[in-house]
């Protein structure tokens, strides 16, 4: 069992507005970018190929193919640096880690969307910390 003190510290830094999604889902992460004084949000859209478990140290990896080059980005699940996560579609996949996508190109790298698809409350807006 985890230490009560650690749990308390974690609870202070966990985001309460987590979005429910799984590996295989296509997501759009609005990442806050600072440009000098200004701050704006930049979208990173792709397939979630991995979610690591954990409390405040949980992360997820988003993969997309940009100009023919595979790009993967790891986001901390509880980072205050993203504004929101949108779930664009639910993917029909059989495993939790989709590393096999790295070896596939084009049509083969597609993921079939689930029938039920996107739930209503897929978009979360962050209460800026």
């Amino acid at each position: 069992m985890r230490n009560a003190a650690i749990q308390f510290v974690d609870s202070l830094h966990e985001r309460k507005d987590l979005v429910d999604f799984r590996a295989g889902d296509t997501v759009r992460v609005w990442w806050k970018v600072k440009e000098g004084e200004k701050e704006r949000s930049q979208a990173f859209e792709g397939v979630c190929i991995r979610k690591t478990r954990g409390s405040v140290d949980a992360t997820f990896t988003v993969r997309k193919v940009s100009f023919g080059v595979g790009v993967e980005r790891i986001f901390p699940m509880h980072s205050p640096r993203y504004e929101s996560i949108e779930v664009l579609s639910r993917g029909d996949v059989r495993r939790g880690r989709l590393f096999y996508l790295r070896g596939l190109r084009g049509k083969a790298a597609r993921i079939e969307a689930l029938e039920e698809n996107v739930p209503a409350s897929s978009t979360a807006t962050a209460a800026a910390k």
Binding site: R2, A5, I6, V9, D10, L12, D57, S79, K129
Partner: protein
Amino acid sequence: MKGLIGKKAGMTQIFNGEGNAIPVTVIDVASCEVVGKRTMEKDQYTAVVLGLVDAKEKHLTKAQIGSFKKAGAKAKRIVREFRVDAEELATYTVGEVISVDKFFKVGELVDVTGITKGRGTQGVMKRWNFRGFGQTHGTHEYRRHPGAIGQRKTPGRVYPNKKLPGHYGVEQVTMQNLEVAGVLPEKSLILVKGGVAGSNNGLVVIKPAIKGAMRAAHKAGKK
């Protein structure tokens, strides 16, 4: 020298103001109380005695029970002294619970002392970071060995303190200049950036960084 005793609760990470994840060690200093004083008249030096973790009488010797009773303090399992000058000593009262935010603020540097985890008998590669020998190219039963440990007939002996296999761990180690990443008085927790020696639930002593002023001066000089 002011200081606190606490228990290492473990490590986690927090997000700072800029949203960057920082690895922190959580130290629990709940029930850190003043259990006695050392005075010039009686002890020829001045120090404040802090205790951690309430103890049942059956776990203590009669001498220990007597000393706690005489001071008029609660019995504690762990007791440590911190040297303070006479003026500062007067500000403490026996039985007072030391709050975490009394000494340390976020951003300050501290030294944290702990006892490292025991690793048992270990070879020279783990214990002293020797390089060992090649794994291939004909190495025969000589892969993780220390090599030569001395000369010939002169001096005809192995020098004292030669690094050899043996018991490793369970040593006192002080991590210097750790940054205080958070202070939570409501739960008596202090967060320091980075790791601290020892297992979870191990005893640690937190003091202001001995080189803190030096580092600050150095930094100021650079700018």
